[in-house]
């Protein structure tokens, strides 16, 4: 039997490959393009109102003028508060699940519940936070209640990324440490965690991004419609960027006039998330280097 023309086959192969690659290439460019479009839209619309006063002053004239300082402070407080809660709880839970619990029904249940927790709509977290933290525990509409609610929301993200980070640590490190007579806790603390830490930081990045943009969970637990002063304690209400944005676009005193302020607010929110990401990325790199050195 005669073999088909080799040149022709080779050409065909090459053509198919380049078609496939072009599709992949276009799709990845598309993602960049979408992100770029959203960012440039927000920047274009919002940059006009951004100035020093905008980020350091109180809102004025029914939120159509002035700044958004209290909302920035509020969001920063909420991010910090929720991380203060979610990070230790989530990391410790993940350590327990990955390093201590044996495979079996208990581990399965905890895992399934964590996944379920991640699937709950954020507005439900808001309702739950309101009934538990605001009403039952009498925290009232407060930074504390809002932080805890947001923390709950971030918990599954932190747990899951921490677990992945721990799983990525090669077992031979654990065995080597245990083989020297180290306890499980010594092994976890001085070998496993330092190796996993850069990746655990990734979980922090992701949850900061998520938490700072959430509106629904803070709706009933902390967010103030208009509160032109800074919070003085964790039991105070606060303004927050995403909620402020929502208010300006739907129920402000003058929606059309406050439109630029809304875009400015959106821009500030994006910038804060971006800075948080960059910061966390830097931390990740720093600890990644340090791990090798320690």
């Amino acid at each position: 039997m005669k073999m088909p023309d080799e040149n022709k086959l080779a050409k065909q192969k090459k053509r198919n490959q380049s078609i496939a690659f072009w599709i992949f290439r276009l799709l990845s460019y598309l993602i960049v393009a979408i992100l770029f479009a959203i960012l440039s839209f927000i920047v274009f619309k919002g940059i006009g109102v951004i100035n020093w006063n905008f980020i350091t002053q109180m809102p004025e004239e029914g939120m159509t003028k002035g700044g958004i300082f209290p909302a920035i402070v509020g969001t920063l407080c909420l991010v910090a508060g929720s991380m203060l809660f979610a990070f230790p709880v989530g990391v410790l839970a993940a350590i327990y699940m990955n390093e201590y619990v044996k495979d079996g029904i208990i581990k399965k249940i905890i895992k399934q519940m964590t996944n379920n927790l991640a699937g709950i709509p954020s507005i439900v977290f808001g309702l739950f936070g309101m009934s538990l933290f605001v009403n039952k525990l009498h925290f009232g509409d407060s930074i504390l209640a809002g932080s805890l609610t947001l923390g709950l929301l971030a918990l599954p993200v932190v747990i899951r990324t921490t677990e992945e980070a721990l799983k990525a640590v090669d077992n031979t490190f654990r065995h080597a440490s245990l083989g020297l007579g180290a306890s499980k806790w010594q092994t976890t603390r001085s070998v496993v965690l330092p190796i996993a830490f850069p990746n655990i930081i990734t979980g922090l990045i992701l949850s900061i991004g998520r938490v700072s943009g959430e509106t629904a969970p803070i709706l009933f637990t902390v967010a103030a419609y208009f509160l032109p002063k800074l919070p003085t304690s964790i039991f105070d209400q606060a303004m927050a960027l995403p909620y402020h944005l929502y208010v300006l676009s739907t129920s402000g005193t003058n929606i059309a006039e406050s439109r630029p302020v809304a875009y400015g607010t959106a821009l500030v929110l994006i910038i804060i998330v971006l800075i948080a990401n960059l910061l966390a990325n830097g931390l990740r790199k720093y600890f990644g280097k340090k791990v090798k050195m320690n």
């Binding site: 031979t172 490190f173 065995h175 083989g179 020297l180 007579g181």
Partner: protein, 250 residues
Amino acid sequence: MYKIESKNVDFFYGASQALKNINLAIKPNTVTALIGPSGCGKSTYLRLFNRMNDLIDNTKIGGQVLIDGDDIYAKGVNVDSLRKEVGMVFQKPNPFPKTIFENVAYGLRVNGITDKKFIEERVEETIKQVVLWDEVKDKLKKSAFELSGGQQQRLCIARALAIQPSIVLMDEPTSALDPISTSKVEELIYELKAKYTIVIVTHNMQQAGRVSDTTAFFYMGELVEYDNTKTIFTNPKVERTQNYITGRFG
């Protein structure tokens, strides 16, 4: 008196039996090679001596493993102290992501030693023992990852020796190393014999022949033959052993 003894040892992963009725006794200050095809149970057997198999869920052991005459699987045995007594070196060099110094000091630290001077002396002594000192003495504060594979493996041996075990288990310690590093580690094993009892799992027949005093051949979870290395390699009693050693199967 034997250093290590196993009496009627069975071992199960879940329902599948990995070791069947193993009886074997190892004299102190000898090198024993465990050989056999992949999956024959030799690594599993090695890991019984420092109870590393405890880390795997759903396993079961039957029979007795004695070290210095004491059953290490008896109730109330402190596994951490057992592992301090029985050091282990792994297949791939696996130094911790710490400095060269801290890698060797780790075992001392986790066992509660805080005396700085003692730790420094012990680290130096051990690194000299594995003939690595001249290569690393100027970079003890550098990451262990900067060393070559062979150097890393000798560092891992030093790490195991620092806490002064009496037994050293080696699970294919040279399978990831180049020939020159391999021969360095083999020389080291030969020298360490004076102070330690060594059990080594290896896939390399020549290596078993070069470094060990006695050799145990495992097949399908059973101990087929156990004798002086010389006898095993020149005049084995069982045909299967002969076939494996000469490369006719395996």
